[in-house]
């Protein structure tokens, strides 16, 4: 089970077209990533809500195909 970083980026971009996204493959195994995402979609929302938006954009892949994604969200 793995997911390419380009696919992660594409899914997030689809849900948040304005997002600036940096994906890092932490272990080089296509299974442990970190994502830094900057979007106005996050403005005024709690961290929990912001992370939920990211999880939703990944359409159920989080915790399944994608084992580990460290998320860092930023408001614009």
């Amino acid at each position: 089970m793995s997911l390419k970083s380009g696919e992660i980026k594409r899914l997030i971009k689809e849900a948040m077209p304005d997002a600036e996204i940096i994906i890092q493959d932490l272990a080089g195994d296509e299974n442990h990533y970190s994502a830094t995402i900057k979007s106005k979609v996050f403005n005024g929302k709690s961290k929990i809500e912001q992370h939920k938006i990211v999880y939703k954009s990944l359409k159920g892949k989080m915790g399944n195909e994608l084992h580990a994604l460290s998320i860092n969200t930023m408001e614009v």
Binding site: I48, H51, G60, M62, N72
Partner: protein
Amino acid sequence: MNENTKEKISELIEKNDVCLFMKGTPDVPQCGFSLAISNVLKHLGVSFKGVNVLENNDIREGIKTFSDWPTIPQLFIKKEFIGGCDIVKEMFEKKELQAKLSEKKIPYKN
């Protein structure tokens, strides 16, 4: 999630002021993210209950529905869902976690 599992989860977060749903135990965490939160809590000297989801698949799946959050670990303080590893680490660094503990009257050391 069946009612039984939901009740079990509710009971766990009601009985334990600080409750961490994790992979492994506080002594032997089996996932880096679980280890990270466990270490933050230990560093703050907070006494907490670690619930090893690897021992109970109903809870492992149920907790994700319960808090509408797809990953484990998950931290609860006085029944409030605080977040997963990234959020807890960030809150700790910004001293927001310490503020939350004070607000909820949970003893910790700085």
